[in-house]
Symmetry: C2
Subunit: 346 residues, 2 copies
DNA sequence: TTTTAACACGAAAACGTTTTCGAAACATTT
DNA sequence: AAATGTTTCGAAAACGTTTTCGTGTTAAAA
């Protein structure tokens, strides 16, 4: 077993000092060409690579960034991670991933684990529980210790940091306008409870589009899904809520849903009730994941460009890290959405 | 800005030595109760947390594990990561993620970045390109340097390490047997080219099931998809290949596909050709992702239990790390598959 | 020949910990 | 009073780097 070789070992073997070896490997002019070649040859032979941990300690920089997301088995978040990885790697940074699993406690624990020297900065999206409790002390504390944070998607204005967000309002509005232009007269909204900002903004976009066209929003056409009882493996409660929506309002001829699952499920229920898509009901979702693309019929949807969000977040963070002015002029970058039209609309 | 406080600062402030502070914080009996309390109070006040990098350097243990996968925007891989994270976090380990993007070079670069002290061990799944080139020197070198590796899913027998695999053969066989028992007489197979082992084993399972029932495998019913031209955004070549399969062999009444996309696409094409599912054609896929669950009709599929694979891999790795006998008696753990029946079979 | 400059290298500090060992201060036993 | 034991603490080494500064040697200039 060839244990990793260190400067000290090379130095001893070649009968020079550690400093000489270090300098020789960096091609310092201080060292004679003779010794330089000797050292470099030896180092290459034994495949010397400087120890990252020692470098981190010396430089007080780890060249790694911490990412904390609520969930990884999720098309949007994994795309964001891909974007972060891509950009970070190009800049020579590594990425540590932590999952909060939508729990406040796990979010705090994860941040604690990483905030003690392991990383140079955070990229994160807030867990639902934290959003509910509105307890942001852990974010403020880390920022206060001089560690930069970039938030994405689920952000909160109380926190002073760079942010990368989707224009949920506009994305939703454009989608609903599309439905209106496609002659939908009674457009239902399937959304989440209000505490997740993202859902709230999308709801506002829906309302705004209707008002733009002088259509009175109908409360009975708005379904706020109770996702407490909703698990990855149990969709029946969702199905029942949507079924009730359709049965109670047979006039519905358009649906805007704030995520893929709701949209797909709406299509499924509609067809069970004998409605044709897009002839009887047109549907638009949010998030361009695998479901939208492979649904039958293909789901028209609002794409958030997750990867671009990740790249941008990484860019902002690394910029802060390398230019140590993390005190003010924080920016909020808005990544535009895009309506991807498929067969669920006319 | 409250920069992080160190032992040295506490020591200076309290006019004791660094050693005393360190011991006091660890409740060492060496230190008088007086000073212990004083130090602890001060440390708490300033929210002292030991610097992880310094600890890593001292202990020559980083308490983090590196994961390298070909792709993260992928249901199976993200489930595996979730499993790894879950187990690792419980044991106090962090997880660094690297993406090879199916490229040999990126795989090597990623491993190099991490192998120099940043992590204590690797969990990885080999990229397609590496599988093609059959160049495994980077794995052997890291193992040789005393860094343990656990491989999962896409493994290769030439490498001496712990492995966690799915019983692809058995999973496929059971699926095809199910089709046979459901009275399918002409079962097609949609698979990948042979160099990805996983695809090969599934193909063998298909053949074996047929032979078990004395059915002669028909070469024209086996479609090896050319995924060169296949991208995330371009499925037409796949669709055409499958269409040709169905048109050329109208007797097909069952399909076993080695992944979700192939299966879903097969259902889609079949229906376009006027076939009813499951009445005219029954379909079974591999991998229990969102697509299978939300497809209409729901896709019967072979679940691989990605999360369990991740947990098991993390368990094996941490076991090796903490018991430093990474020299022999490597095990290969097989995680059983499970046939999840939905509406695409009778 | 003496002074100065250039060259080649090493010692040591620093990053933040933990831990071993030695030693002062005090208390207890003979 | 002397010997021994206990308590409480600090110095220093170690982990693996980089970098500053000092110094001895040699070559060039006066």
């Amino acid at each position: 077993m060839n244990k990793k070789v260190t400067l000290k070992q090379i130095a001893r073997e070649l009968d020079v000092s550690i400093s000489t070896v270090s300098k020789a490997l960096k091609n310092s002019k201080e060292i004679s060409e003779d010794t330089r070649e000797k050292v470099q040859a030896f180092a290459k032979l034994y495949n010397y690579k400087p120890n990252n941990i020692a470098l981190s300690l010396k430089n007080r920089k780890t060249k790694t960034i911490g990412v904390i997301i609520p969930e990884i088995v999720h098309h949007f978040f994994s795309k964001v991670i891909r974007g972060i990885e891509l950009y970070a790697n190009n800049k020579g940074y590594n990425v540590i991933v932590g999952l909060s699993n939508e729990s406040f406690d796990k979010e705090v624990i994860n941040m604690d684990m990483l905030a003690n020297g392991s990383i140079d900065g955070f990229i994160l999206s807030i867990s639902k529980e934290t959003l509910l409790q509105q307890d942001y002390h852990h974010f403020n504390e880390t920022i206060n210790q001089g560690m930069p944070i970039v938030m994405f998607d689920r952000v909160v204005k109380e926190i002073n940091c760079d942010k990368v967000v989707v224009d949920d309002f506009k994305g939703a509005k454009i989608a609903v306008e599309k439905l209106i232009e496609n002659k939908c007269k009674n457009i239902a909204l399937i959304t989440t409870k209000d505490y997740v900002n993202v859902g709230r903004y999308r709801t506002q976009g829906y309302i705004s589009a209707l008002e733009e066209y002088n259509i009175m929003p109908q409360p009975n056409l708005i379904l706020k899904v109770d996702d407490e009882s909703l698990t990855e493996y149990n969709l029946v409660s969702l199905e029942n809520e949507i079924k009730d929506l359709f049965m109670g309002n047979p006039e519905i001829d358009g649906v805007f849903a704030v995520n893929e699952i709701y949209a797909i499920t709406a299509m499924k229920i509609a067809r069970k009730l004998g409605k044709e898509i897009p002839d009887d009901i047109q549907v638009i979702g949010f998030t361009d994941g695998v479901l939208s693309k492979h649904a039958i019929p293909g789901l028209t949807t609002v794409s958030q460009h997750g990867q671009r969000i990740g790249e941008k977040a990484a860019e902002l963070l690394i910029e802060r890290i390398e230019n140590e002015y993390f005190t003010d002029n924080f920016q909020t970058v808005v990544v535009e959405t895009e309506l991807i039209e498929r067969e669920s609309t006319k």
